[in-house]
Symmetry: C2
Subunit: 114 residues, 2 copies
């Protein structure tokens, strides 16, 4: 099934007590992932905004960076992430992502459950 | 865990008897998906190349287009796909994707199993 970009559901949310509103475009839902996952989305973080730090256990979240440059909290260590980098967080690890730059940061987020 | 782009595994393959070689950059493996999926990859289709038509049953494959313009076989119907479009194929449906243009087509591919 083909779904054009403008028909995808979009929502804005404060994520894990981060800064500002994060833009989420859902690419499927939990049923589309056969209940093995709970997120597959194109996420945009505007300058000055962030996804707050939070842990993942019994599930893994992937951030695949496709545009911009952000500061990723990799379980306590700050790393600058750029397009093409992949971040995987699970097994009780903590992550967060902040846009300290001047251009939006865009990523594909995927959460797969154990 | 942060993995910079240049450390991701890459491979080239003829996919489902399509035209030419498709470039695959794996973003995780089957274990990283808790065995609920078998592919999460950044895929590049050069001009003149294609992923051949094939079915998916007991699993769904998503193509999320991030660059370029391709011709998607949506279970028998041709559709032009562009960045931001999402294509989901499962439940016995057939898909394929051909690059008839002059620029590479890039997409995120995800296969989730029932």
């Amino acid at each position: 099934m083909f779904t054009p970009s403008d028909k995808c559901p979009r929502r804005d949310a404060c994520v894990r007590n981060g800064k500002g509103l994060i833009h989420m475009k859902d690419l499927t839902d939990q049923k589309g992932l056969y209940d093995h996952g709970r997120l597959f989305a194109h996420v945009t973080i505007d300058p000055g905004c962030s996804i707050g730090d939070h842990p993942h256990d019994h599930e893994t979240e992937f951030y695949y960076i496709i545009k911009g440059e952000g500061v990723f909290n990799d379980n306590g260590t700050e790393v600058v992430v750029r397009p093409g980098d992949i971040c995987a967080t699970g097994y009780g690890e903590v992550h967060g992502l902040e846009n300290r730059g001047t251009e939006p940061v865009e990523l594909i987020a995927l959460i797969v459950q154990e």
